[in-house]
Symmetry: C2
Subunit: 433 residues, 2 copies
């Protein structure tokens, strides 16, 4: 017994076109899995004059009301992007009782609470797998497979552009050369700001933290830094310590608060995140019952994103009317962790005078703030020396205070800013160099 189920698309660009084509090609597979024959009946575009190859005879329209008011349409895929009018459209559709699937990262990252509430009120589903890491099914895994695992940490390489650039820099290229190479290969936009500033990764981490921790993590609460300021000295120091520099998204639930950030980090060369290839993405989920699960794959691409949109459509029609996942996904009240309370091992370096007692003063200055040294490498440099220091796990605030004290020491000429360290083995096992 087959039900005819009509789908509409908001937007018919690269992703929209791929959704239409893939849906038409795989309608039989979806029918077999769900009992529903899916057909794209309408697609909203801005300009009907533009030439399009519409796969299965969907009507092209510029009038949103034609979709909103069409009672035959059960599911709408929002693949137009942008905050408005996409946001208003999605809210209207959910309120009208239509299930919505969206690939819109900025929209979900900025307005998740409002969208979740609208879906709950409308008794329909909002799915957004394609908004994070394209075809990597991390949202479904978090919501459906890890439902009984208290996921307390999400670590990710969630921006392929920066991962490619940093991988290339390891080979000796400058930032500018590596970025130009990424642009030539289509891994970076002509204006790469959104990627290299960390803003793109921050939006993804806001969504992942929201789903993983079942709470509202506003994009404004995600502290982020990009890769534009990475010092070649950092890249060299990482290599010497058998680590690599990566732009890491980290979301943690600690002491009843969340801490979500994106920043360059030193990643142990043996850590799974150090091994993510070039422009690929990877997300590691750590939880009570499962230890850790890592998902990796292409984090971008038209058909990859379309595949995720269709997976969501399939899941929606497979669960319509059951109430499954129709409740607000972000129901817990969790505060943001206080600034400075975020704990990590850190790397920093000091340029110091090379004279007796310096190392003892440095160690004392750190110990005063309860920061202990896991590993230390000293290099002579003219009349001075560079100390490369990896600390044990410490609160960022305590380390900042300690570095402030160290900067005031007579024999310390310069202190670098601290860089968090991601290590699988645990810094405790790194030992002294």
């Amino acid at each position: 017994m087959t039900t005819e189920t009509n789908v509409a698309l908001l937007g018919y660009g690269t992703v929209g076109g791929a959704v239409d084509r893939l849906l038409a090609a795989s309608a039989g597979d979806i029918e077999r899995a769900t009992g529903h024959r899916v057909r794209v009946v309408k697609a909203l575009v801005r300009d009907t004059a533009k030439e399009r190859q519409v796969a299965d005879g969907a009507a092209i329209t510029t009038d949103f009301a034609e979709i909103l008011d069409d009672p035959s349409i059960a599911v709408v895929a929002e693949v137009m992007g942008g905050l408005e009018p996409a946001g208003a459209y999605v809210v209207d559709l959910l309120a009208r009782g239509k299930h919505v699937v969206t690939a819109n990262k900025q929209l979900v990252a900025r307005r998740a609470p409002e969208l979740f509430a609208a879906a709950s009120a409308g008794g329909v589903q909002l799915r957004f797998e394609a908004s994070v890491c394209a075809a990597i099914p991390v949202i479904k895994v978090l919501r459906e497979s890890l439902v009984v695992t208290n996921v307390h940490r999400v670590l990710g390489i969630v921006n392929g552009t920066t991962n490619f650039v940093l991988t290339e820099m390891e080979g000796g290229k400058s930032y500018a050369e590596a970025l130009a190479d990424a642009q030539a290969r289509g891994y970076a936009e002509a204006d790469p700001t959104d990627d290299v500033s960390g803003a793109d990764a921050a939006a993804k981490m806001a969504i992942l933290a929201t789903v993983a921790f079942n709470t509202r993590v506003p994009l404004d609460d995600v502290q982020y830094a990009g890769i534009t300021e990475i010092d070649p000295l950092d890249v060299a120091a990482a290599r010497e310590l058998e680590m690599v520099v990566r732009l890491v998204g980290a979301a943690r639930l600690v002491d009843g608060g969340y801490d979500v950030r994106v920043e360059p980090a030193f990643v142990d060369a043996q850590h799974p995140l150090a091994k993510v290839d070039g422009a690929f993405n990877a997300v590691m989920l750590q939880g009570d019952a499962i230890r850790e699960i890592t998902l990796a794959g292409p984090g971008a691409g038209g058909t990859e994103t379309a595949s995720a949109v269709i997976a969501d459509i399939t899941s929606v029609i497979g669960t319509m009317g059951t109430g499954f996942l129709q409740n607000d996904a972000a129901w817990r009240e969790v505060p943001k962790l206080a600034p400075g309370a975020s704990r990590s091992p850190f790397y920093f370096r000091l340029l110091v005078d090379d004279r007796p007692g310096t190392l003892a003063h440095v160690a004392e200055g750190l110990a005063r703030h309860e920061v202990s040294i896991a590993r230390l490498v000293q290099h002579q440099a003219g009349s001075g020396a560079t100390l490369h220091v990896v600390t044990h796990e410490a609160p960022a605030g305590a380390l900042a205070a300690a570095l402030g004290d160290l900067a005031g020491l007579e024999e310390v000429r310069r202190a670098s800013r601290p860089i968090p360290v991601v290590s699988d083995r645990g810094v405790a096992e790194l030992g002294w160099a």
Copy 2:
């Protein structure tokens, strides 16, 4: 509006106990996701005298009929293991219209067609995430996230014991030492036969191939070899070629036929499967729309397996009555690929007399069967030489025929058996050494 949904367990060992405890602890999360309040009401055991800590007041019984005939039970989790009576119980339950979730690898690998048919006939779901790689959600991802991706290749490290042993052997340990270490750490059983023979991995690959290719892949059609015969010369040769030896499960859909096997392979050190840590598992899914997605995590463990069982229970109750995934998952008629037609790059070595013309004769012997050389390393050894050869992709049958010819050459003293090569870069890029 909450529905009370009763669950029964077949078996109350390590996994069953963990399912009971985790379900009791997370009933609120499941209710929020599904609208169902889940409770374990009965558990089937062999011996009621054995002391157990039952989490939430489930009735312990030795009488299967108490579960089969209880109309209040909607979902049954089979966590007792073994082929019988588990198999008969599952079939009876499905026929009686009860959804079944199973962690039983051998049962699913050996009797999937019968079980799928029983579920379809009963109008209920059979889910089996926990039967493969514990908490790694590869079945859900294949069935629900990659529904429109024609997955044509599954590569996996699906046995943690052998992966740990092989990783240790890289460090210079003998097979016996590495196995003893694995046993000491609890990664290997006292009788490790099922793991080291490849039989455990073969069962998992049969299930993965069945789901990925939507066809019936009987366990008997999975050709497997274990790690007991690995030659230390192979480990050394792999290292020299910047590869590692791994027990690789490979399922491919080629020319309308499937080829599913488990065997030691040379894996390029840069390949994601070479980077799987110790006792972890990883599965790489390659498909048309998604390029490739890799899932990695612990492939065994009581709570990890229980987490997968509960994910399945949650998915079942979230989709009850919709028909979602209630159709036979293995509907396609796909034949097994003819023996010898399986294509791969291969490694082999020849012990030869070191005299002019030898290399030309070897290359000619291979070329006669259309096998071409991607990489060749020659080492002097007394009056002879060892040739390490990596071929381009070739049918296994053609290579076997070529090696038969080479063994007949006057100057060839000995030929090793060929070992498949897994390379991300493509052997074409390996170039000549």
